[in-house]
């Protein structure tokens, strides 16, 4: 009874909250740096969790796992549907190359920095490589909520800059999802006792196969003229099925549904309708994810806070440097006088970052994670919070008049 009450309470909070959040907090000039981007629900979750109020106790969180698996599939589908070839071609081929280089540089720098740092405290930990790679991959994620909110208040001439930022952020998010899917291939899921014991590459092939198959099934079912209720049923059914299959096989539901969504977007005329259907619960779903992630959070030692701060600093510096090196080149255009500073505008780590955090907890860390993996999770969540506070300042720097 308590479990169900807890889950209901969570849903009510999310439904009520999504109408109040996603706004600029204070109308004054000084207040323009403070937004409610939903990320504050991480704190709400932390308060509801076992550390404080105990509404979301471990039993409740355990029961929520199926919901989270489905949620991941839903998010993956949403992220995949935007990858329409026609839309992707609107940006030049060169810009993808530069964004890719930016991503590689970021990955390299962040992993080098974190490896050096974590080795000091966990010199011989078997999970060191995993922790570093998880944090490096999630460093690619870039939240777009604060970006969009900032651009709303910026002058009209700055809007194109916002579009470029969102474009870079979206591509990096997709890369992060794919890399995380690969990463999961290297690790046996936390539940144990199931999952294919295949080499990572074959596991990846399995993800591709399953994703394409899901996409094709969706495509075939959507060929008929369908009513609203039928569409909802088909999407729910496939996300449930695909998510469950992914859990069973030990592959990433985010990746599988990303592929399925991309297939649908490129071969069906109805991807728009599907997209709107998925969008309808995007915000409440996101808030529930944030709250559950917050409830999982066990800060434990002050070390986590320190490491999170270090992670934020390393990520921001790498972003600044990589942005100046690669993003500045491709968007060198009189319209964007400060293109070399673009990297500083990508600080926010929410959105897909939070989804990957939950994914990490479900698939790799497990309910009682080893010390370093728990630390990794805490560092990631704290970094998401810190980055959200920092992000408006970065954006202000990027959009400043020259």
């Amino acid at each position: 009874m308590k479990t169900i009450a807890g889950i209901l309470f969570l849903a009510i909070l999310a439904l009520a909250g999504h109408r109040k959040s996603f706004v600029k907090l204070l109308p004054s000039r000084a207040g323009r740096f403070f937004f409610l981007t939903g990320t504050e629900f991480l704190l709400v979750g932390y308060l509801l969790g076992d550390s404080f109020l105990g509404v979301l106790d471990p039993a409740t969180l355990e029961r929520a796992r199926p919901f989270l698996i489905v949620g991941l599939g839903w998010i993956g589908l949403l992220a995949g549907i935007q990858l329409e070839g026609k839309a992707l071609r609107m940006f030049g081929r060169a810009s993808y190359l530069w964004i890719l280089l930016y991503g590689c540089f970021l990955l390299l720098f962040v992993s080098a920095g974190l490896h050096a740092l974590l080795r000091v405290w966990f010199p011989a930990d078997p999970h060191l490589g995993l922790a570093v790679s998880v944090l490096a991959v999630t460093a690619l994620c870039t939240g777009q909520t604060s970006m969009a909110l900032w651009m709303q208040q910026a002058s009209k001439q700055k809007r194109p800059l916002g579009i470029v930022l969102q474009f870079v952020a979206s591509i990096n998010d997709v890369i992060a999802i794919v890399l995380f899917g690969v990463l999961i291939g290297f690790h046996q899921p936390a539940g144990g006792g199931f999952g294919l014991s295949l080499p990572p590459l074959e596991k990846l092939a399995f993800s591709l196969l399953l994703g394409t198959l899901m996409g094709l099934l969706l495509l075939m079912l959507f060929r008929a003229r369908l009513g609203e209720a039928d569409k909802v049923l088909i999407v729910i059914g496939l996300v449930l099925f695909g998510g469950g299959a992914a859990y069973l096989l030990g592959v990433s539901p985010l990746l599988i549904h990303l592929i399925a969504g991309a297939v649908l977007a490129n071969f069906s005329l109805k991807s728009d309708e599907t997209f709107h259907l998925l969008m309808r619960i995007e915000r409440p779903l996101y808030l529930i994810f944030l709250m559950i992630a917050g409830a999982y959070l066990r800060i434990g030692a002050p070390l986590a806070v320190l490491l999170a701060l270090a992670y934020v600093a390393i990520r921001a510096l790498s972003q600044g440097a990589a942005g100046a090196m690669f993003l500045g080149r491709v968007f060198r255009d009189p319209a964007y006088p400060r293109a070399h500073a673009l990297g500083w505008g990508l600080t926010s780590q929410a959105g897909i970052g939070a989804a990957l955090a939950v994914h990490f907890h479900l698939w790799i860390a497990g309910p009682s994670p080893p010390l370093l993996l728990n630390m990794t999770f805490s560092v990631l969540l704290l970094a998401i919070l810190f980055n959200e506070v920092l992000s408006p300042f970065g954006l202000a720097y990027v959009t400043k008049e020259t």
Partner: protein, 115 residues
């Protein structure tokens, strides 16, 4: 003769409304895309699918259903039908419905409008 104008907020009801109108004998209607004032001014805030929102804008458009109806009784029936189909326009905040008297109609007549 009356013009019936229904600005529907959620296009997922569109098919059902049109089918219901057809069933009670409204012979035709035109459907237009439209954008509300606040919708136009506010930008969508993306979370997971930012790419889509920068290219297309992820908010669906409103639909305007426009029809000319000759007979008062049918008009009343149409109003009631629409209200029922969307589950109460006022209750569900599902748009605005209004009618206007039509003085002149030049063209093929209400029977074929929108076809």
């Amino acid at each position: 003769m009356w013009a019936l104008v229904y600005i529907l907020n959620e296009d997922r009801y569109l098919t059902e409304v049109l089918e219901a109108l057809l069933e009670i004998g409204v012979p035709g209607a035109s459907i237009l895309d439209s954008v509300g004032m606040l919708q136009f001014l506010s930008q969508e805030i993306p979370i997971f699918a930012g790419f889509r929102s920068i290219l297309k804008g992820s908010k669906p458009y409103n639909k305007i259903i426009l029809s000319v109806i000759r007979d008062q009784e049918l008009l009343q029936q149409a109003l009631a039908t629409i209200d029922l189909t969307v589950g109460g326009i006022e209750n569900g905040k599902r748009g605005i419905l209004f009618t206007l008297p039509v003085e002149h109609l030049i063209g093929p007549g209400p029977e074929t409008l929108g076809d």
